[in-house]
C-alpha cells in the first residue's frame, strides 16, 4: 500500500509526545499529587511505545508493576504528607546546574551506546515462531540467565527484609488482638456464674 497512512509512525509520535509532555509535567507542576499522576501517564505512554515494538510482556509488566502497584503507593504517601510547596520550590534554580549535568551525562551515555553497538540499525527479534515474546523471555530468563535472575531476586528479598527490620519498631504500648486466641476462647474464660442467696428487701 504506497498511499497508506504511516499509522505506526503517527502513533509512535503521539505516544512519545504524550510521554515527553507528561514527563515535563512531573517536574513543573506545583501540586505533588499532579506530579505523581503525570508520572503515571509517562509510564503508561512508555508502555504503549513498547507495545509498538511488539514487546507486549515488558509493556504490560510495566503497567502492572509500576502503574498498578508502585505508583499507587507513591500516591498514597504523597497524599498523606502535608508538603510545604514554597519551601520545596525555593531551591529549584540552585539545583538546575547539577540537573543539567546529570541530564547531559545520561544523554551522552545513551548516544555512545547506540553509536557503538549500532542498535539503531539492528533488527530486533520479536519472539518465537508464534510471535509470543513472553515464552521467549521466560525461556531465556530461566535457562541462559538463570543465575543472574535468581541472584537479583535474592538481593531484592534481602533488601525487603532489611528495610522492614530497620524501620519496624515493636512498641510495647501497642494493643492488638490475636484472632486464633479469640476463636479458641471458651465460656469459662469469659463468663463466671455466681450463685448467691436472695437478699431481703
Amino acid at each position: 500500500m504506497p498511499n497508506a497512512i504511516p499509522i505506526i509512525e503517527i502513533v509512535f509520535y503521539l505516544f512519545s509526545g504524550v510521554a515527553t509532555l507528561a514527563a515535563l509535567g512531573v517536574i513543573t507542576s506545583r501540586n505533588p499529587v499532579y506530579s505523581v499522576l503525570f508520572l503515571v501517564l509517562t509510564f503508561f505512554s512508555s508502555a504503549c511505545i513498547w507495545l509498538l515494538l511488539e514487546a507486549e510482556f515488558l509493556a504490560i509488566t510495566l503497567v502492572l508493576v509500576y502503574v498498578g502497584a508502585v505508583m499507587v503507593l507513591f500516591l498514597f504517601v504523597v497524599m498523606m504528607l502535608d508538603i510545604n510547596l514554597t519551601k520545596l520550590k525555593s531551591g529549584f534554580a540552585s539545583y538546575l546546574p547539577v540537573g543539567i549535568l546529570v541530564a547531559i551525562a545520561m544523554a551522552a551515555q545513551l548516544f555512545i551506546l547506540i553509536w557503538a553497538t549500532g542498535a539503531g540499525s539492528q533488527v530486533l527479534e520479536y519472539g518465537d515462531a508464534d510471535g509470543s515474546n513472553t515464552r521467549m523471555l521466560g525461556e531465556l530468563l530461566y535457562t541462559e540467565y538463570l543465575y543472574p535472575f535468581e541472584i537479583a531476586g535474592l538481593i531484592l528479598l534481602v533488601a525487603i527484609v532489611a528495610a522492614i527490620s530497620l524501620t519496624h519498631r515493636r512498641r510495647p504500648e501497642t494493643k492488638y488482638q490475636d484472632p486464633s486466641r479469640q476463636v479458641k476462647v471458651n465460656r469459662d474464660e469469659r463468663v463466671r456464674l455466681v450463685k448467691m442467696d436472695a437478699e431481703e428487701d
Binding site: 499507587v72 497524599m79 484472632p179
Partner: protein, 335 residues
C-alpha cells in the same frame, strides 16, 4: 486509507456491540437482580412497580441519576474530581477486550491476555484514590486510603492464585487456558487448584470492594467512603465500574477455574457440546454468589481484612504454587 478506516470502523462497531452495550445492560440488570435476590433473601419482594415485575426499574434508576445535578464541593480539586470516576470506569471496561465467551467469540485474542487483565484491573484503584482525595473530605479520604491498601494487598493473593493457573495451562492466553481444561467437570482447574480457586474468588470480592469487604464504603462508619461527595452521573460511573468489575471477576473465575465454555457432562451426547451458554451459566452463578455474600455476611473489621490477605492467603498461595509445579512436573495435571 479507505481500508484502514474500514478496519477502524469495524473495530469500533465490534467494541460497542460486543462489549459496551451488553455490558451496560448486564450491569443495569445486575443491580435489579441484586435488589430482587437480596429482597427475597430478606422476605421482601424487591422493586416491583416500574413495568411488568419491576423490569424497567434499572432504567428508572439510570435516568434519575443522569438528570441529577453533579455537585462539585467548593473546596474540591475540580479537575481531578471530574476525572476520577472516568479513571475507574475506563480500566473496568477495557479489561473486557480479552474475555472470550467461546473459542470464536472474543474481541482480542492476545497472547498475554491474563497479564493484560491484571494490568487493567490494577489501574482501577486510581479513580478511587484520586476521587477520595479530590473531594477534600475526611470521610472520602479515609475511604480512599482503606480501599487503596485493600486493593494493593489482595492483588498479590490474586496474582499468585493466577500463577497456579498459568503453571498448569502453560499459557497466558485465556482461550488456551480454557482449551487446557477441555473435558468434563473433573478436568477443570478448580479441582487441582481448589485452594487457589477459593482464594481467587474471595480476593475478587475484596478487590471489588464488595460485602463483606466493603470497608471502603462502610456506610455505618465513614458514610459512603470515597464517593460520599459524588452525585448524579459521576456517582453512576463509579457504580457502573464496580458492577462491571464484579461481572469481570465472575467471568474470569468461570474461565480460569471452571472450564469456561466447556460442558461439565463429558461423554454424554448433546449436552456435552461446548458453547457460550455454559460460560454464561457459570458466570451468572458466580455473580449470584456476590449477591448471596452481601445478604449473608457481616462486614469484616479492617485489621482482620489485612490479616486475612497477608497472613493467610499469600502463604497458602505460595505453597500451592509449589504443589501446582509438582502436578505439572509429575504429569498428574497439565502439560
Amino acid at each position: 486509507m479507505i481500508e484502514q478506516l474500514t478496519v477502524l470502523a469495524w473495530t469500533v462497531t465490534k467494541i460497542s456491540f460486543l462489549i459496551l452495550i451488553p455490558l451496560i445492560l448486564a450491569v443495569a440488570y445486575f443491580t435489579f437482580a441484586e435488589r430482587k435476590v437480596i429482597g427475597y433473601m430478606q422476605s421482601r419482594v424487591g422493586p416491583n412497580r416500574v413495568g411488568p415485575w419491576g423490569l424497567f426499574q434499572p432504567f428508572a434508576d439510570v435516568f434519575k441519576l443522569l438528570f441529577k445535578e453533579i455537585i462539585i464541593p467548593a473546596q474540591a480539586n475540580k479537575v481531578l474530581f471530574v476525572l476520577a470516576p472516568m479513571m475507574t470506569l475506563i480500566p473496568a471496561f477495557t479489561a473486557w477486550a480479552v474475555i472470550p465467551a467461546s473459542d470464536k467469540l472474543v474481541l482480542a485474542d492476545i497472547d498475554a491476555g491474563l497479564l493484560y487483565i491484571l494490568a487493567m484491573t490494577s489501574m482501577g484503584v486510581y479513580g478511587v484514590i484520586v476521587g477520595g482525595w479530590a473531594s477534600n473530605s475526611k470521610y472520602a479520604f479515609l475511604g480512599a486510603l482503606r480501599s487503596a491498601a485493600q486493593i494493593v494487598s489482595y492483588e498479590m493473593a490474586m496474582g499468585f492464585a493466577l500463577v497456579g493457573v498459568i503453571i498448569l495451562s502453560g499459557s497466558l492466553n485465556i482461550s488456551n487456558i480454557v482449551e487446557a481444561q477441555s473435558g468434563g467437570l473433573f478436568s477443570w482447574f478448580w479441582l487441582p487448584l481448589l485452594p487457589l480457586f477459593v482464594i481467587y474468588f474471595i480476593s475478587g470480592v475484596a478487590e471489588t470492594n464488595r460485602a463483606p469487604f466493603d470497608v471502603a464504603e462502610g456506610e455505618s462508619e465513614i458514610v459512603a467512603g470515597f464517593h460520599v461527595d459524588y452525585s448524579g452521573a459521576a456517582f453512576a460511573l463509579y457504580f457502573l465500574a464496580e458492577y462491571a468489575n464484579m461481572i469481570l471477576i465472575s467471568a474470569l473465575a468461570s474461565l480460569l477455574f471452571m472450564g469456561g465454555w466447556m460442558s461439565p457432562f463429558a461423554g454424554i451426547p448433546i449436552i456435552a457440546e461446548p458453547g457460550p451458554h455454559w460460560f454464561f451459566i457459570k458466570m451468572f452463578s458466580f455473580m449470584f454468589l456476590f449477591l448471596w455474600f452481601r445478604a449473608t455476611f457481616p462486614r469484616y473489621r479492617y485489621d482482620q481484612i489485612m490479616r486475612l490477605g497477608w497472613k493467610v492467603f499469600i502463604p497458602i498461595t505460595i505453597v500451592w504454587i509449589l504443589v501446582a509445579g509438582i502436578f505439572r512436573v509429575t504429569g498428574l495435571y497439565g502439560g
